[in-house]
């Protein structure tokens, strides 16, 4: 039997980068193949080539033996390929139905038959057990639901091959499990599934085969039966990786960060943080677990002075910081690793050395009055690049030119190299490769051991569970439970995150 999808010797270069080099992968009907690799390993580029979103320089892609012309998305769809994209390809101001039918609309004469379209969406949603409201506007829906719409869109035309590009990045553990189940059901009905992830647990759970990419090449091919998570990680990174974070017992002292009855609005002026209470003691890591969009971002921004409070207090070592300018909050000893490093963490067009002093460029020793001290800047940058293992050609390189992991290391280096009493780390390892994750985790633990109060906000439950000394579960703008690390069991935390009682 010939394979459903055959990728043979595909090469694709972008200016200055070889994204794919002679990659060959195949998927058979009814098989789940996981494409595993670090960020920038070339996974997305490869599947985009299959779906005609990228034109490979050379090599060929065949579906059911038929050659696919480069860049022919319509042709790929017509041959039964469906794809769930990493960045949702949904129109926010349109309804769920409009989004799903886009590109192949049911007609009545020259007009779109909205009634038929709606019925089709409802039938589709029932068929796969993925619940959606056909009339809701996409912009009003949470990301988990948007993900379901993406999947329904991909499944609409009885696909033979389903490609999923990091589908679980924004899902709760329960939603992830549901999605993995959907994938298994599809495979059982004969659909070939090619899915991209960098989460080893998911690979072990569903994949029949694993293809590991590293630096644009196939680093190896294996199956969950033949290896374990450590083995996969090693294949991915090319060296030994310690997945389990090694840390000593926390020795918490006095409460350093206190949040009392804090209420904050989100951008749309809806209450996002609702009378929240939390304290973080010096020398401990408190992990805030929660489905994204439950007020975590607003909480972090309020603590850091980036968002005005409605009511309540934020105290750092007993001193009220809730009405201070972000720069002032920082000078109180509050370090912030922001969720969106491109927007709030770095100035992409500035050099690394400038980025490393973004929040203290005006202070001794980096400036004397109006004059910057270039020697001190360079000395600082050289030392931090070395210490934090930032891989860059030079300290004068612009931050925008670095890979995601190295950008994040610049932010971490800047924030943790200073004397800090409080560290606010929001999604510190989002979009960062396994090797860098390990490094950043160790840095956070080092900060804790040096006596800082660390507040870790993460959508990755595994990250929270492996780092935090106490786990605060956030749902609907409130802390619904605080658990000691030893009591924080995956399933329990997941249920609390979903707003269910334990």
């Amino acid at each position: 039997m010939s394979a459903l999808l055959e990728i043979t010797n595909v090469t694709k270069t972008f200016p200055g980068v070889v994204a794919n080099e002679n990659i060959s992968v195949s998927v058979a009907a009814g098989e789940i193949v996981a494409l595993l690799g670090e960020n920038g390993a070339g996974k997305s580029t490869l599947v985009k080539s299959v779906f005609g979103m990228v034109r490979p320089d050379s090599g060929e892609i065949r579906i059911k033996g038929e050659l696919i012309a480069p860049g022919d998305t319509g042709g790929a769809i017509a041959r039964g390929v469906g794809m769930v994209h990493q960045h949702f390809q949904l129109v926010p101001v349109m309804t769920v139905t409009e989004n799903i039918i886009l590109g192949d609309e049911p007609k009545r004469g020259i007009f779109i038959n909205m009634k038929a379209a709606r019925a089709e969406v409802i039938a589709l949603s029932e068929k796969y057990g993925l619940e959606v409201d056909p009339d809701a506007f996409v912009e009003d829906l949470p990301v988990g639901t948007q993900q379901r719409i993406e999947i329904l869109k991909a499944l609409r035309k009885d696909v033979d091959l389903l490609i999923l590009d990091e589908p679980t990045a924004v899902l709760t553990p329960q939603e992830t499990d549901e999605l993995l189940q959907v994938m298994k059901n599809l495979a059982a009905s004969g659909v070939g599934v090619l899915f991209i992830t960098h989460k080893l647990r998911e690979v072990m759970a569903v994949a029949d085969r694993v293809v590991v990419l590293r630096n644009g090449r196939v680093a190896g091919s294996t199956s969950p039966k033949e290896t374990d998570e450590e083995g996969l990680a090693q294949l991915m990174v090319g060296r030994n990786v310690v997945l389990q974070v090694e840390k000593g017992e926390a020795k918490p002292e006095a409460s350093t960060l206190e949040i009392k009855a804090l209420s904050v609005n989100d951008d749309r002026k809806h209450l996002a943080v609702d009378g929240l209470n939390l304290e973080v003691r010096a020398g401990e890591i408190v992990g805030v677990a929660g489905v994204e969009g439950n007020g975590q971002r607003e909480l972090v921004e309020a603590i850091c002075g980036m968002r005005p409070r409605l009511s309540g207090e934020v105290l750092v070592s007993g001193e009220a910081t809730h009405d201070m300018h972000p720069h002032k909050v920082h000078s109180m000893g509050v370090s912030h690793i922001p969720e969106d490093r491109e927007k709030h963490g770095l100035v992409s067009s500035y050099s690394i050395e400038d980025n490393l002093v973004l929040n203290q460029f005006d202070r001794d020793p980096f400036a004397k009055g109006w004059i910057r001290n270039v020697a001190a800047l360079e000395e600082n940058a050289t030392r931090l690049v070395e210490e934090f293992d930032i891989r860059t050609p030079s300290i004068k390189t612009t931050a925008g030119a670095l890979s995601g992991g190295n950008k994040q290391k610049v932010v971490v280096a800047r924030e943790l190299s200073q004397d800090t009493r409080v560290v606010i780390a929001a999604q510190p390892t989002r979009g960062v490769d396994v090797g860098s994750i390990e490094f950043i985790h160790n840095q956070l633990i080092a900060a804790r051991d040096a006596g800082a109060a660390v507040l870790l906000v993460s959508a990755e439950l595994d990250e929270i569970l492996s780092l935090a000394d106490r786990v605060a579960v956030m749902s609907g703008g409130k802390i619904v439970a605080i658990l000691d690390a030893k009591d924080a069991e995956r399933g329990l935390v997941g249920r609390l995150m979903a707003g269910l009682s334990a």
Partner: protein, 327 residues
Amino acid sequence: MKKLLSFKWLLTLLLVVITGYFYSKDGVITSSVVSTALIFGLPLALAAMVGIMCERTGIVNIGIEGTLLFSAFVGFFTASATDSDFYGVVAAVIAGTASGVLLAFMSISWKMDQIIAGTIINILATGLTSFLYKQGHTAPTTSEIDIPWLSKIPFFGQVLFMHGPIVYIGLVLIFVLYVALFHTSWGLRSRAVGEHPGSADTAGVSVFKLRYLNVSIAGAVGGLAGAYLSLELVGSWDRGFTAGKGFTALALMIFGRWNPMGALAAAMFFGLTQAVTNQLMFSQIVKIPDQFVNMLPYILTIVVLAISAGKVRPPAAEGQQYEKEQA
């Protein structure tokens, strides 16, 4: 949003009541004023359609002014040379389409900044027409067609059914565009491309082709508006005689929230204001210097933009290049 909606209905009601009152007082003048409102408003409405078609697919078109000027010029001098109003209109539409294709070429194929591409069209149109202009030509203009039966209806007959051909074509076009934009595949895809091109691309819709198509058709509509100006409304062509109508149309497009019906209503309101002012001046009821009257459209444009500022949401992908391949 609700507030603006009720404001809209209130204004409509007010206009109907006022019109009714004046019609009972003096039917002839009232009918003529409202009819003039349509005549003044139509080119603005058509020009706003050009903007809507482009921006709904994500291409900003600030070259409408140039399209109007150029197509009006080509239309007028073709009509003059061939002694045929029909050939004049056809030539104007072709000229408008050409300006649309040029905009598409610059902003889609060359990935030029769309504001600059539009500005180039404006400068090119002003320069070319001024250079080629010869005084003293006349051309046949389109003649009024009274629709049988319908034109006999009191008030509405004169307001709606006693016009030149381009008024009828234009009005039908606006309604067709409205229906097409919200009830056909073409409309759904166009709006998707203007909001989030990736969503259309991943659904197998070619962003490139659809943008080209829409910007070119929009150019043709602009050509029709130009023909209307030189061959139906004014009957002549003069340097810079479009007097910023292309820019006013952009304001109306925004005020009408990128919706053909909204823009049509806004354009008619504009036309009415001018018609009423003209009438007041003509019958010597008010005596204001001409200069102030001529300022009116521009002042209204500023007011309109100030009212709609911050309350409307443009198509999200407007003005952005779509790059299919990203690492």
